[in-house]
Amino acid sequence: MEVAILFLLTVGLMLIGVPIAVALGFSSTLFLLVLSDTSLASVAQSFFQAMDGHYTLLAIPFFILASAFMSTGGVARRIIRFSIACVGHFPGGLAIAGVFACMLFAALSGSSPATVVAIGSIVIAGMRQVGYTKDFAAGVIANAGTLGILIPPSIVMVVYASATDTSVGRMFLAGVIPGILAGVMLMVTIYVMAIVKKLPRGEWRGWGEVAASGRDAAWGLFLIVIILGGIYGGIFTPTEAAAVAAVYAFLIANFVYADMGPLKTAEDRPNLPLWRKPLALVTVFFHKDTKDTMFEAGKLTITLMFIIANALILKHVLTDEQIPQRIATAMLDAGLGPVMFLVIVNVILLIGGQFMEPSGLLVIVAPLVFPIAIELGIDPIHLGIIMVVNMEIGMITPPVGLNLFVTSGVAGMSMMAVVRAALPFLAVLFVFLILVTYVPILSTWLPTMMMGPEIVIR
């Protein structure tokens, strides 16, 4: 019962406008002080260890940084051009291209809101110009942006892997097929809507444009090869892959596209090639764009990690009170089967996703349900993908929906308007959630193919 009070207190604090991180940390600290003999010093230790003791979580700042360099440095813009060249001529073409661009950017970025900002800020305006309603445009991008955490790399997968000691590499592979499937489902939905509603289509500019835009975007898209190739080719660990991605994105943004940094010129003139200004190799480190991008990425990391660190304090409470064992015993004694269990997990996550930022929620829920899942013979990787898809849905449902949040900013609409706009496509994601939940092979086939069956060590 204490646990119920703990959760109610946390949610209550959030609702009166306490920052999520503080709501988690404050209620957990109260509980530790009242219920256990744990000291405040150990709360501080938990806080510090959130960063110092969870090596896997280091991937978060690195992926955020890579993403920041790619949006500022012109990668997103080129990906959009390529997407339009490929699918822009279908009915509803620009919307479909928006989804396709979100999928491609998702393969470079670990975060959903970052995907919305990078793609949405350009595509939504473009869609309005050719005659789509703002609602439709915002709804498409808010939904497609959630693929940022399903298509690898993914910050949420990193958090799940860290919380449950599963392999990040496997999680990344597991997201590939569901990610493509979800993208295709969204595109097909748009296609059908476009035919029914007679939505505008672009014109086919020929294979030349596909090739030209593809070449232009290739430097950015090559990052997919670097990340996945490097991890599965044994050059670096997933955490290190994130750092390599950040360095690569920095180089591309500053020296190849030069849409930022010392080689950038005024809007209408082509950026300088490096050989014209080799000193840029040095000055780039002191350039304002570099500092600003790093600082913005740092700031985002801090707000995210503040939530995760406090969620870990809450997890400390649950562990200390041996709640996971008690819940596991209760659920297993109730004779729960895998099917019912997964329904319950989905419901918990969908409700939790209304109030919580995804990474923080995962830190708390994963240790609660993971032992039961293992007991019931559910594949840990499959469970992870289910959780990620739930988090996607949480991102486009109020009151806490990070994607709604950034979409409303990007599109200049109120939150509630974005919620209404996102609703039809949300239905698609729900169907997709059911599919992913009850067809485990969608998630497990690729990792099993590439890395052998997942081994449960516990």
Partner: protein, 311 residues
């Protein structure tokens, strides 16, 4: 859950509770304490690093937030250097020699080596002798040359691999399986039960039976907490712990052999060394001793070598 008035003894460790030698011993200790000391004391075991990992747990113990811990001996580097003797390659012939050394006067004295740092060792728990594995056959020391081995953070282990001409790589334990599989690192060293438990054998070419070092744990408490217990409680706790230790340490050879067999059954490759081949490994690694002789004490090395003769 503990009742009111009982002394709460939190025991945090990093392995599973039912398969790993340490986890089994901890679970047995928990059962016995909670049965035999019911009403007086109550032990809560937190396995799988759910509460603390091996490094944090010692901080938490000094802080008074956890009472029992059993880190591996190489985790005490910050407290004392004497345990480096167990990491030194080919110091002990087998686990029986390790056991005899720990029971000797020299070994018993080591349990008190950290008292000035506020930590008291109660009992040594065995895991077993370490073996070497890599993504290519390791028959002679030259085979390890140029390979990257994952090591625990320990000066001795780094020096050991450098002596082989290999490159020691620090790496978070949770990343090791994936890193071995993809080839980020080439090899690792561990006991049979860890090689089996972590499934390392599946992503390695084979495991070479070198028995080159010991992987043991020390059950520790903080001196402040231990000295503050009633003498009667302390004695009863020590007695139960001692009996559990004797029982589980005696069984560890069998757990080890089972793990070894299980690896074979699962299709894992195990390479045994001839006497000559083994001697080559000894010759390659022995120079490492000189670097650490001041840390571990010549008299302790002599004691260990004298005991080796009995096995």
């Amino acid at each position: 859950q503990c009742d009111d008035g009982e002394i709460v003894i939190k025991f945090s460790h990093v392995t599973n509770a039912d398969n790993h030698p340490k986890g089994i011993a901890a679970s047995l200790l928990q059962t016995r304490v909670n049965e035999e000391m019911n009403g007086t004391a109550c032990m809560e075991v937190y396995p799988n690093s759910t509460l603390y990992d091996d490094d944090q747990v010692l901080e938490a113990m000094l802080q008074g937030d956890v009472q029992f811990a059993a880190p591996s001996l190489s985790k005490f580097e910050q407290f004392t250097k004497v345990f480096r003797i167990f990491d030194l390659p080919f110091m002990f012939k087998n686990i029986e020699a390790v056991d005899a050394f720990q029971a000797s006067e020299a070994g018993q004295a080591m349990k008190e080596s950290m008292v000035r740092r506020g930590v008291l060792g109660l009992e040594f728990w065995h895991n077993g002798m370490k073996q070497l594995s890599a993504n290519k056959p390791l028959i002679e020391p030259a085979d390890a040359q140029g390979l990257k081995f994952r090591v625990q953070p320990s000066e001795v282990l780094k020096a050991q691999f450098e002596a082989l001409g290999a490159s020691p790589q620090p790496m978070a334990f949770s990343e090791v399986y994936g890193a071995l599989q993809t080839g980020v690192v080439d090899g690792q060293e561990n006991t049979w039960s860890n090689v089996y438990g972590q499934k390392f054998f599946e992503v390695q070419d084979g495991t070479t039976e070198t028995n080159h070092g010991a992987l043991d744990y020390l059950v520790v408490v903080s001196t402040d907490w231990w000295d503050g217990l009633d003498a009667g409680v302390r004695d009863q706790l020590a007695t139960i712990l001692n009996e559990v230790t004797t029982e589980r340490n005696a069984a560890v050879a069998e757990v080890d052999a089972q793990a070894r067999q299980a690896i074979l059954d699962a299709g894992g490759e195990i390479r045994e060394l001839t006497t000559e081949q083994r001697q080559m490994w000894v010759d390659a690694m022995l120079p490492v001793w000189d670097q650490f002789i001041d840390d571990v004490g010549q008299e302790n090395v002599d004691a260990a070598q004298a005991l080796n003769a009995n096995f």
